[in-house]
Symmetry: C3
């Protein structure tokens, strides 16, 4: 079978492909990270193992200094046309761990755009100075468009999608799955587990991407707990049906708690709301100290943060509250992903095997 490559497919043809069908186009160099659907279970498990090794090597001073030699010959652009201090800082820290120099463009209104430059020229300009672009953009599909455009140039560089439009945020999905893998490390992994998603599931791109990634595991059961108007989209349910993944939709959060191996809380995203709609009674979609007795002792509580009142600060010190560790996991999985982009993961494995740092 011929290799699928962005340099020979037209933009029109590419856009007609389904998300799973797009994946193979990002396998050949330059290794883009664009959509959650491009990752297989094997990819995910290898990335998570790599992230854990980076994290462990980093614990020792000589290990941290070693990691900084891995990408010290490269430079990355952090192009955040949409502000997000959390995602920005996490990627920036991941780059610093690997010694990868970064430059920032954090404003949507660059001087060039003011001067009438096309978005394509702007990104090609950025690409001239670096070896990789990590980008966040308000326009859905723009990261894919850039990757396709790069393929038409003599110097294509990898694009890492750090959030584009309302649909894709693949690194967030990877860090979520990494947190679940680590949480379930001693209880048999993700296969067969029940995961409860709570809150605004209609508009949260992290839930949509994570649900897909979980469908790659065996015997997983998903619960979607949301007010009717904020329930998960039909398109995701169809992907789950196709994958044979069991799921249930409900508005009764408490009834799912005793079953839950993990609970994934989300914020009601008022900022996406143009009609001023959210009149929901959000107290039904809240977790706090009063629920701790109902939960399994191993239940992992996740939240992509920032939170408002949906997760009480009272449970921050409960051993099941994983959201702060989850955020730090984002830094490690992104370091693993960037390392993989430049094919330097084998160096880490050799170092790890030779020095066996502490757990």
């Amino acid at each position: 079978m011929a290799e699928k490559t962005l340099s020979t497919i037209s933009w029109q043809d590419f856009q007609t492909l389904s998300l799973p069908d797009k994946g193979p186009y990002f396998q050949a160099p330059p290794h883009h990270t664009l959509i959650a659907q491009q990752f297989s279970r094997e990819d995910i498990e290898a990335l998570c193992e790599l992230a854990t090794r980076v994290k462990r090597i980093n614990k020792r001073r000589e290990g941290a200094n070693y990691l900084k030699t891995l990408l010290s010959d490269k430079r990355a652009m952090l192009y955040f046309a949409q502000p997000s201090s959390r995602t920005y800082l996490s990627h920036n820290a991941a780059c610093q761990i690997l010694g990868l120099d970064t430059m920032d463009v954090r404003d949507s209104k660059t001087s060039s755009e003011v001067k009438g430059e096309s978005p394509e020229d702007t990104v090609r300009t950025f690409s001239s100075y670096v070896d990789m672009i990590i980008m966040r953009h308000p326009v859905g599909g723009f990261a894919e468009r850039v990757a396709w455009m790069m393929a038409q140039t003599p110097r294509p560089i990898p694009i890492l999608n750090a959030g584009s439009g309302a649909d894709q945020h693949p690194t967030q999905a990877l860090l979520d799955v990494y947190t679940l893998l680590r949480s379930f490390e001693k209880i048999g992994g993700i296969d067969g587990k029940s995961v409860v998603f709570v809150g605004d599931l209609a508009r949260g791109r992290t839930v949509r991407s994570l649900a897909w990634l979980l469908s790659l595991f065996n015997g997983v059961k998903l619960y979607f707990v949301a007010p009717e108007q904020l329930q998960i989209g039909q398109d995701i349910l169809e992907l789950l049906d196709a994958a044979g993944t069991h799921y249930e939709l409900t508005q009764d959060f408490e009834s799912t708690m005793p079953e839950a191996d993990a609970i994934y809380m989300t914020r009601i995203q008022d900022e996406w709301d143009s009609e001023g709609a959210t009149t929901t009674d959000s107290s039904d979609f809240h977790i706090g100290a009063e629920h701790m007795d109902i939960l399994k002792p191993t239940c992992a509580i996740l939240h992509p943060l920032p939170r408002r009142q949906e997760v009480s600060t009272d449970i921050d010190n409960d051993s099941r509250a994983m959201y702060w560790r989850q955020m730090r996991n984002g830094m490690w999985i992104r370091a693993a992903l960037i390392l993989r982009t430049f094919h330097r993961e084998e160096e880490v494995h050799r170092y790890y095997d030779a020095y066996t740092p502490p757990g």
Copy 2:
């Protein structure tokens, strides 16, 4: 006596302590820098010696490259919710000298705050990605609050207060004392010297902190020269009384000039003035070429900068004008402070003793 630690005292109890009583709580790891009152004379002298050694080692190319290995395994957040290019750049340079990677949050309105996140969650998020937070914040006591909050988490990291509210700016006080120590190096040190403070002493936090630090030395005499409504606060005078430090309040700047071993000029800070008050004739609180003959030949003239008309540019090239050196001293003392935060000062001393760089 039991060690005093932030993790076991309540926030309410902590707030009732006097500034000198708070100091011991910042001695145990993680070594926070929060208030001028936490430093003893011995601390100050050790920091100043360390700063001078860093400065000397940095003069040679191999020395500068050596310094960059000292904290190359660490990362710091520069969180400046209140803009200050000078303090920001000075800390950033100090980090770069030590090879400490930095990330910035320089805007008060981060996207997370827009999304309704609490200030505590915001700072805890920042702490997830780094090993130290250097912060400047408009709210008085916020740096202390963050240090206390950190102590309640499993991953507390050191906080360095780069200015908080109207009261504390400990690194400025340390750089001022460092400049005095260096200025008086060949004339017997700070003990027994007369220091004249001039300008807006009511609202300048640098004067308040420096006056306290000088009270740790023997036989110092302080003059406070200011218009009545901008004179130094009664609380500082009480601290000086308790320490047995002599002082005098006056509006006659010229009469103090012949006595002065150092003159500390300050700017009338209109930006703090909400009532539109400053109708003072500031020409009485000004120094220029016309005063050079009255001053001692060794008198050190300091100013925290930026200046307006209170220090004439005519005297910039006078050997007694120390304010430009003072600013550069800020970089060295901050490097020493950051190094001490991570307990790596001994490495510098070993290197210094082995290589004895030029003075």
Copy 3:
């Protein structure tokens, strides 16, 4: 002959000098880069050779890591009082290639200026923390003023002018000449070539500076193609007359195309236009696929970018379209220039001769 030095000439006397007469004042340390007229043909050729060697060494991982040791003991300030993401990123990348740590001031309204500080004090403050200032400023001649001011202080550091006012942008001129040198490498170099300048030649400082640099080569012929009100300034024509360089002014772009060894397109710069004047039919000053057959097969097409419609995207993949390479060349020539500022070019030559990296 006495060395010409900024520390002994008054600012008034210095300002009366012609551009070519100013050049010698920037030869002595600290080696400023301020105006295109300070460079001789020998300087330019040496810089271009250095840029090419840096570029080649950077291709190998060990070479890139070697380059990062060259200025790892230095720090630079990127002071961009006038926004320009392209020039900023290019200089920042050049610094990173050489391991030179950078700090940014990218806003015109720093907090100090708000506090009433003079521009001279602001820049002297910046200079305290670094070993070099790379600056872009809206006020013409301000970079020269800063260099002169530095000469009056005990710690003068080199200033690199990254664009000042409407007149000087020397690094852009150097990257343009570097692109021409590389384009003409196999066809005898720049001597004897015809270069066509097109567009808004009245206000574009890049054209003015490049025309001067080309006058240093032998037998060059320049065509200036512009609507009458946007034609090149009389002052430049006088410099060309003095240098004995042939030129022609015309509005007929197509008639010059068959002669052109290089075409330098520029954008109609509406943002400089205060009277709302540009009523020109810009379609006469445009190049696209329809012209490719008229051009010489070796004709180099340049543009400082960003472009609007004056260069069609249809010709981006034509081998004669040099503008994307031109932009990347900017990074290499700036790296060479910064290296030269610190007199470390010989180290590169020694490394290059020892390792002979691939072309």
